[in-house]
């Protein structure tokens, strides 16, 4: 169990200071105090939260729309399903590089296309706010695959009879969606929400490769900071403390979501 030992060690380490050259020293809560006074820590936390709040709705809505489309009985459905999943299958590092080229200020395709319709080149990756937007967009794109499959599974478990009954009662497509499909999708929605949150909060690769946490720390995330502390400065104590904070946040939010689930989600009895 490569997990229990390290977790305990992580908790212990977060109360210590260790820079690998000397032996570990117990410093109590100093690491945590240091964190709460550290503006970079709060910046990274804020960035991670902004990122998560941006990616999750975008990705969930997009993937739901695509799943709804894929749910029809069309020919070549399997082909389209494969195609729509391709972004997720590729390495996020590779895709970060591709999108970095797309967003390039002078030679990127995006600015080129905008130029064709008379819009000035946008400094996508050169300004903190825009850079975050770029990262969010790219991540939402890259990760739609899993939610699509989960939505599809959820959609296919909705009995055809309910939709037929609604149709017979004169409900149009939107009404059918809102009053039959959506409520019955609640378990799936919830599951995707939980999974997406857990993985979004751990964002690292995109910000490391595409923007290096910049510009001006605009896309610097929690895991970016953990990595830098632990593996470039070898400051293991604070890094562990941050790791613990990350774990606690994810755990708490997930538990809150589980609580809410009992009130909002109705499972078939």
């Amino acid at each position: 169990m490569f997990w229990v030992g390290p977790v305990i060690a992580a908790i212990l380490l977060s109360f210590a200071e260790w820079t690998l050259s000397a032996s570990p020293e117990w410093v109590g809560l100093r690491n945590y105090e240091g964190l709460s006074a550290d503006p970079l820590f709060w910046t990274s936390l804020r960035n991670t939260t902004v990122y998560t709040l941006g990616v999750i709705p975008l990705q969930m809505v997009l993937s739901l729309l695509i799943a709804l489309a894929l749910n029809r009985k069309i020919r070549f459905r399997a082909l389209f399903r494969t195609l729509y999943f391709l972004p997720t299958v590729t390495s996020i590092v590779a895709m970060a590089l591709v999108w970095r080229a797309l967003f390039d200020y002078r030679f990127g395709f995006l600015n080129g296309a905008l130029g064709l319709i008379g819009v000035d080149a946008v400094p996508w990756l050169l300004e903190p706010g825009l850079a975050m937007f770029a990262v969010i967009l790219m991540s939402a794109w890259q990760g739609i695959g899993f939610p699509i499959i989960l939505w599809l599974a959820g959609l296919q478990s909705i009995p055809e009879e309910y939709l037929e009954a609604a149709r017979v009662d004169g409900a149009n497509a939107w009404a059918r969606f809102r009053y039959v499909t959506l409520p019955l999708l609640a378990p799936t929605t919830f599951f995707i929400l939980v999974i997406s949150f857990i993985s979004s909060f751990q964002v690292f690769e995109q910000t490391y490769v595409m923007t290096s946490g910049g510009p001006e720390r605009g896309t610097y995330t929690l895991v970016n900071y953990i990595y830098e502390e632990a593996f470039t400065k070898f400051s293991m104590g604070p890094a562990s403390a941050m790791g613990c904070v990350l774990a606690v946040i994810i755990l708490c939010v997930t538990l809150i979501q589980l609580r809410l689930q009992r009130r909002w989600v109705h499972y078939e009895t």
Partner: protein, 294 residues
């Protein structure tokens, strides 16, 4: 199970009369929409492909061409000598191969144990296992690194492969969910024949486990092949880098050479795409298996 979409005729849209030839017209429209959506989603990948076939000069044209006038296929030949791509590939295989095998072996055994064997604390342990899926691995990264550092195993592939031989939680979960669906009569028959639990595993469960194993193969292959943080942390020599890390590292030197970078990313995306295309059916089933229980 729903009937296979391909064996059913496409549904006519409501409100369309029976105009001769109208069937063809109408059923073309949804396809067009799907194709447009597909193109939009694949646009970055198409851009990657098209840029990889341009010369450096071409790629800097503003606005850029969609399809290059003269595709430079040579880029795909040159890249192997400009960048140690082959080395990166080999390294990735060295890591991913044993990892996936380890996962298959240990997870199927563990999944079987959790599904069918009775032992003290089984269900508690399983819930604990699920809980670990919620904890991000970055938390245990630091202590794990320290552990391997003390053992002198940093800068080897051991830290990347070993955890996969200790039955990753996700794999156990997948296999257990699947094994629970196997009818007990099969087991009972084997027990009557005097089969020990390990024999039951070997003769009954293992042969039946094709589909979930295929799903697990894809999941784990993708996870290991595309993993960036772990090799970044544990590997310290450029010669040992795996594909994602090598890609990022090289992009620092070569980024201005956009066609080269695009060629590299195209080539490095191929293995996972090919694997997925072949095993996608199992992949979907695997995701559903984990999702249904919520």
């Amino acid at each position: 199970m729903r009937p296979d979409a391909r064996r059913e005729p496409a549904k006519l849209q409501r409100g369309v009369g029976t105009v001769p030839g109208g069937h063809m017209l109408v059923s073309a429209t949804p396809y067009l929409l799907y194709v447009i959506v597909a193109l939009t989603i694949l646009a970055p990948l198409l851009y990657m492909l098209s840029t990889s076939l341009k010369t450096l000069l071409d790629s800097m044209k503003y606005p850029p061409d969609l399809i290059p006038d003269q595709p430079v296929w040579r880029n795909y030949v040159d890249v192997w000598s400009t960048i140690p791509l082959a080395q990166l590939f080999v390294n990735s295989v060295k890591v991913t191969g044993p990892s996936v095998i380890g996962t298959l072996v240990t997870c199927s055994l563990a999944g079987y144990a959790f599904a069918r064997l009775k032992f003290w604390g089984r269900d508690v342990l399983f819930v604990l296992l699920l809980a670990t899926l919620m904890i991000p691995y970055q938390v245990t990264l630091v202590p794990t690194f320290l552990f391997f550092n003390e053992a002198g195993l940093v800068n080897t592939y051991v830290p990347l492969i070993l955890p996969n031989w200790l039955a990753p939680a996700f794999g156990i979960f997948l296999m257990r969910q699947f094994f629970r669906t196997i009818p007990r009569e099969l087991e009972d028959a084997a027990k009557l024949d005097g089969c020990a639990p390990i024999g039951i595993y070997w003769h009954i469960f293992l042969p039946l486990s094709g589909p979930p194993m295929a799903a697990l193969v894809i999941f784990e292959f993708l996870r290991n092949w595309n993993n960036f943080l772990l090799p970044l942390v544990f590997l310290q020599e450029p010669e040992k880098m795996t594909l994602p890390v090598g890609l990022a590292w090289l992009s620092g030197q070569h980024f201005s050479n956009v066609p080269l970078m695009m060629t590299v990313t195209t080539i490095s995306s191929l293995p996972t795409i090919v694997l997925f295309v072949f095993l996608q059916k199992y992949f979907v089933k695997g995701v559903v298996l984990t999702g249904l229980r919520g």
